[in-house]
């Protein structure tokens, strides 16, 4: 096995945790990780040996998740207007049931905006420094800290109320 795969293998537990924080559902998180790994293996030439593979990989996981969120939004827009009747009803019930079974932390994470969730995942779950997280997401420090603050306030409210 080459150094690339070997290092990736040691990162898998952390990447799974990161995916779980982004996707807030165990099965979705593993699907996300699979898609991200496929993308990473195809793009391995773009990784510069000697640079941090963990940051490179987390960026791929995050980008794959954004793609997934966008395509879910597209699907929702396509189906919603025509199927105002029973389909939506069934779907809603499913969602409510699923939410009741979810762990409180997953449920709280699910109610954040995607932007808040990703900064919480990087800083509070993965323990990246602010500067590292801002660089990974390509956003200014001020944007990072304000998302972090708002996301946290929302989480505190949701979790302390429960």
């Amino acid at each position: 096995m080459q150094a690339f795969e070997r290092e990736l293998l040691t990162l898998l537990p952390r990447l799974r945790r990161f995916a779980r924080a982004l996707a807030y559902d165990a099965a979705d998180a593993d699907d996300l990780l699979q898609v991200a790994l496929e993308r990473a293996l195809k793009a391995r030439e773009q990784w510069a040996p000697g640079t941090r593979l963990d940051a490179w990989m987390m960026r791929i996981v995050r980008n794959c998740w954004i793609d997934e969120v966008r395509s879910r939004a597209r699907r929702a827009r396509t189906f919603a207007p025509e199927e105002d009747g029973e389909m939506v009803g069934v779907d809603m019930l499913d969602q409510i049931e699923a939410k009741a079974e979810m762990h409180a932390v997953d449920r709280a994470m699910a109610s954040l905006t995607p932007e808040q969730r990703e900064v919480i995942a990087l800083v509070l779950v993965e323990g990246l420094a602010y500067r590292e997280a801002a660089e990974l997401l390509d956003i200014p420090m001020g944007t990072l800290t304000s998302r972090l603050t708002r996301g946290r306030q929302a989480l505190v409210q949701l979790l302390e109320a429960a």
């Binding site: 096995m1 150094a3 795969e5 537990p13 799974r16 510069a48 040996p49 509070l124 779950v125 302390e160």
Partner: protein, 241 residues
């Protein structure tokens, strides 16, 4: 006394404040029960998140992920299939390398050979100065953030020599240990001014990587093999094919 806003309180919890900032928050918390409650709230949140997410990283990783990585590398030792490249492309690439070589020779060798990264010894181009130093001592697994020269992969050449790819502001390339020198087998344009750690490698590195793959016998060294190779003075091994 300056009020402690939420951003500052959270930076405190995240360990992002300097000594002065930390002391200021600690003093304010000691004097202000409302602020202390907010701080405790944030600490509870951190505890809750790590209680939830910590065990996920401890779980056994599902087999499907491990096997994705393991099957992916099987084709490698058995010579990876390479797309046939039209002759004109090869010629263009060769011409480009030649021009580059001339440029490198002109700009880096001519004025003061002792000061540049390359010199010509007995008809071969060899590494000198900082580049030679980096090739000789630097481990890819442990290089300083701002190192002037970055070492990429270390591998055994088809002819048995130990070779390493390098990249710096001025030039990237491949050098192989020959006697007491590092003979430079190819050069390409360097990556320019120090790039950020997370940015991906440019196409110039791809050229070097491809050339390295062509020369390589077996797999590139992993961290441990790289260290062993260095500690044994970059000895050559018997040619494999």
């Amino acid at each position: 006394m300056m009020a402690i806003d939420d951003d500052m309180l959270m930076a405190f919890v995240d360990g992002e404040l300097d000594d002065i900032g930390r002391a200021r928050v600690e003093r304010a918390v000691a004097q202000d029960p409302a602020l202390r409650r907010r701080l405790e709230e944030q600490q509870r949140l951190r505890d809750r998140l790590s209680a939830h997410y910590g065990p996920i990283a401890e779980e056994e990783v599902p087999e499907r992920f491990r096997s994705m990585l393991e099957t992916n590398v099987l084709p490698f030792p058995a010579a990876p299939p390479r797309p046939a490249r039209p002759l004109w492309q090869t010629l263009t690439a060769l011409a480009a390398t030649l021009v580059l070589g001339l440029l490198v020779g002109r700009t880096l060798l001519a004025p003061a050979p002792a000061a540049g990264p390359f010199a010509v010894e007995g008809g071969a181009m060899v590494a000198r100065g900082d580049l030679a130093e980096a090739l000789e001592t630097q481990l890819a697994s442990a290089q300083a953030q701002g190192a002037a020269t970055r070492i990429g992969v270390t591998f055994v050449h088809n002819d048995g020599r130990t070779c390493r790819t390098f990249d710096s502001q001025a030039a990237a390339g491949i050098a192989c240990r020959t006697g007491a020198d590092w003979q430079v087998l190819m050069t390409a344009a360097g990556s320019g001014p120090q790039r950020s750690d997370y940015r991906q490698a440019g196409s110039e590195n791809l050229l070097v990587q491809q050339a390295a793959q062509e020369m390589m016998a077996g797999e590139p060294h992993d961290d441990a093999a790289e260290r062993r190779a260095r500690d044994s003075g970059w000895r050559s091994s018997t040619p494999r094919r």
